[in-house]
Symmetry: C2
Subunit: 466 residues, 2 copies
């Protein structure tokens, strides 16, 4: 043993966990405005489409091969697949499927992908313990609110240290949503937060591997586990967020608790959610948007491009600077591959990020002629693209904010197109449209489990889609 | 989004994960000396006794109530109980039972409790995939070696930040041991380390609650999950320990990789394991040892004690300074309660740390007359106890190193007594002695699962106890 520093309990620190938990347990669906509920519904629809769209990825096959032999009673659906697992394992798998294409949703202030951890846990639970669509949506919005507020409190220092914040903050969202759905008392909900905090994990080092999408999956599973243990009165710390050796102090050098406690119920972080138009790391999106616009402008002249130069914020290259990706998953973290695919194919969909596409000679040839400069003056959500053609002529495109950002949000129609495009590849177009319809109809469902059943082509008990 | 610092990849950093994994996969049982294997066997015997001794704790009942409904095919035993669960859940439960009394083993350089995460995962696996006692012991020793070396590399900074190192380092030990047992390739073992690193968690804030013993349980379960996913070729980072945003950099300000790589196979951290004689936080042990000696010296005069003053290292009060514990679990982190119970009852066993004992008037009356001073000059493993009697006379006892430390290790007979005393309360004395015998006979067992079966009073397939 060696010398130890002492962290004093700071009497000035508010009782963050207690106040947040009080709000979670007390809030009713009727306290949430129609506008906020509408954005929650868009979040849900987008998440279902992504979960089905990713359902056949090799990552999912391998995870299923490993954990299926350990599944308990099959109560809950792996969306878009025939397999059913116990609710804890279904939460894990749906968290993986909905994030594996990096095509899901983003809370831009923290780069949290909010729905994966929360909706995956909640829907798996809803197949075990029946839940109305209205109650489901309330719990989903509350869970996402908690997740994003806790993220705000520690971001960016927490993320910079190397934590994948979708996993680390997501587990709180999953615990809050499922804990609310099963009616935990305030005492139990505080314990659930203790259990969630002590399971909070996920390293950015895993980006570009199958383990990245494992993070929202495990956060969903761990959050649900936390709620179930607390329900059985398995006790824990009641000050998990703010204690001297609680989540915020241990995992970050920034602890802004006003981000968690201020304006609860009036300022809604969950309503700031955005939906990706492209299936890759979000900091690449301005580049893809710009390259697609260039392609639309110049047509066949894409074949006469000599070189491309990108000017971006440093974070873009830190996160997505892979020069020679070898796999589709690595391609999602290569701004070079993404630019080449957008210029040559006009593609930013999951089809642009397959192992085959990443290694296609035409694409790699252009990719290798794309360079980039990190400029701290450039905003993280912007990019300047300079194209030089074989004949020496040049073209410049500046993207201030990309499609999918809060300034240029996806319309409902674009959400629908994204949903059908990706899920039709997995379950066929008719089934995809049926699933889209029942997903939008969430608030009128007497049992949310119907959404899961439709995704897998099974008959619903009480389908009320209309 | 906000500004971000950049962590450069340091070309000087050795390929820690690769070298460690090569060693894990290549080492054979015959490479390990008889002395090191003997200490591994003592570790196993002590762990079995603790797992059975803790099996009926309320913490275990509540965990079982919560997770049993989600268990898959019942292959593996909760030691000392009739319940069987799937191997992943059995790993969780045995990690809880073996640590819940805070009576297990300690690697004193890091305060890691090594066996819980590793043995719990390995024995649960051995009931699913048959394993000889010899191979089991090799995997156990390798897992504990990995766990303690990774702990050494980041301790004390990692622990000081607030991480419960038994959980955070334990998950690597569990992944290494189970990965070796199922024959992972080097490629797969590196992935298993990526999966383990990204699940590494556990906060010291949870000390004194049921969630403390959840940590070794979840580390066991997560480590086994990592090995099983890697076996299914679920890929991950191959530089999980040393990458810029890998385990060591994200969770500590100290990264001494020589602690991991130097003298592999010759210096054995696993052979430094020690076994607790008292069922509470290890920094209290010198105080209990001293108070028991005082009681032995003064007999009935314990009833004439006016006050007691302890002089300890500051860490002792930081970790175990609870003045008025309310529960048995809190009592394990109260040097005041522990001293009072040792003086009045001569007790440091699990019976000293029940809810009833912690609230007994005679004990609380003496407890409230015990004070303590933190003295940085006092070694963490020492204590000075000053007793003042009603008649004004005084007595001083100094403990340099307590029973159970490496300087005063438990003999095999003392390990046996500890085993039988605690496990007889759960399964009866005859069964406890039968279990003790088969546990010592580990290396001659063709199937380690027999140990689990005997602990639960079931018939063994091929019991060879002798």
């Amino acid at each position: 043993m060696s010398s130890h520093t002492h962290i004093a309990t700071n009497a000035e620190v508010p009782d963050v966990t207690r106040q947040l938990v009080d709000w979670i347990v007390d809030i009713k669906g009727s306290h949430i405005s129609a506008e906020v509920r509408r954005e929650g519904l868009r979040t849900f629809v987008n998440w279902v489409g992504c979960a089905v769209g990713g359902a056949r990825h090799e990552t999912v096959d391998r995870a299923l091969a490993a954990v299926s032999p350990f599944s308990g009673k099959a109560s809950s659906t792996v969306l878009g697949r025939p397999e059913q697992l116990d609710a804890l394992h279904a939460a894990l798998l749906n968290g993986i499927t909905s994030h594996v294409l990096d095509f899901d949703d983003t809370h831009l202030k923290t780069i949290i992908h909010p729905a994966g951890p929360v909706a995956s846990a909640l829907l798996a639970l809803a197949e075990l313990r029946p839940m109305s669509g209205e109650d489901f949506l309330t719990a989903l919005i509350v869970g996402i609110e908690v997740e994003c507020r806790i993220g705000n409190a520690v971001y960016p220092n927490h993320y910079d240290r190397g934590w994948h914040i979708t996993g680390t903050a997501g587990v709180f969202g999953a615990a809050a949503a499922t804990g609310k759905a099963i009616g935990l008392s305030k005492q139990q909900m505080r314990w659930a937060f203790g259990l969630a905090a002590t399971q909070s994990s996920g390293l950015r080092e895993m980006f570009g591997t199958m383990t990245k999408s494992f993070h929202p999956g495990r956060a969903a599973q761990n959050g649900l586990t936390s709620a179930l243990l607390a329900e059985a009165n398995f006790d824990s710390s009641e000050r998990a967020i703010e204690a001297p050796r609680g989540f915020a102090n241990v995992t970050s050098t920034k602890q802004d608790y006003s981000e968690i406690l201020d304006d609860l119920g009036t300022r809604w972080e969950s309503a700031l959610n955005s939906y990706k138009p492209y299936a890759c790391g979000i900091v690449i999106h301005p580049t893809i948007d710009g390259c697609q616009q260039i392609r639309a402008d110049i047509g066949d002249r894409v074949n006469a491009i000599k070189s491309v130069h990108l000017t971006t914020h440093p974070l873009v290259l830190e996160l997505t600077g892979k020069k020679t990706p070898r796999t589709g998953l690595e391609g999602k973290f290569s701004v070079y591959h993404s630019a080449a695919a957008a210029l040559l194919k006009g593609d930013g969909a999951p089809t642009a990020f397959t192992d085959e596409m990443v290694n296609q000679p035409e694409i790699t040839a252009l990719r290798d002629r794309i360079s980039a400069t990190a400029d701290p003056e450039c905003h993280e959500a912007s990019v300047t693209i300079d194209v030089t053609f074989e004949d020496g002529s040049t073209l410049r495109k500046h993207i201030e904010r990309a499609l999918g950002s809060k300034d240029v949000p996806l319309t409902d129609d674009q959400v629908d197109d994204k949903f059908v495009t990706q899920s039709a590849l997995v379950i066929g177009e008719d089934a995809a449209r049926e699933l889209l319809a029942i997903s939008w109809n969430l608030e009128n469902l007497s049992s949310v489990a119907d959404v899961a059943r439709v995704s897998a082509g099974r008959t619903t008990d009480q389908a009320k889609a209309g």
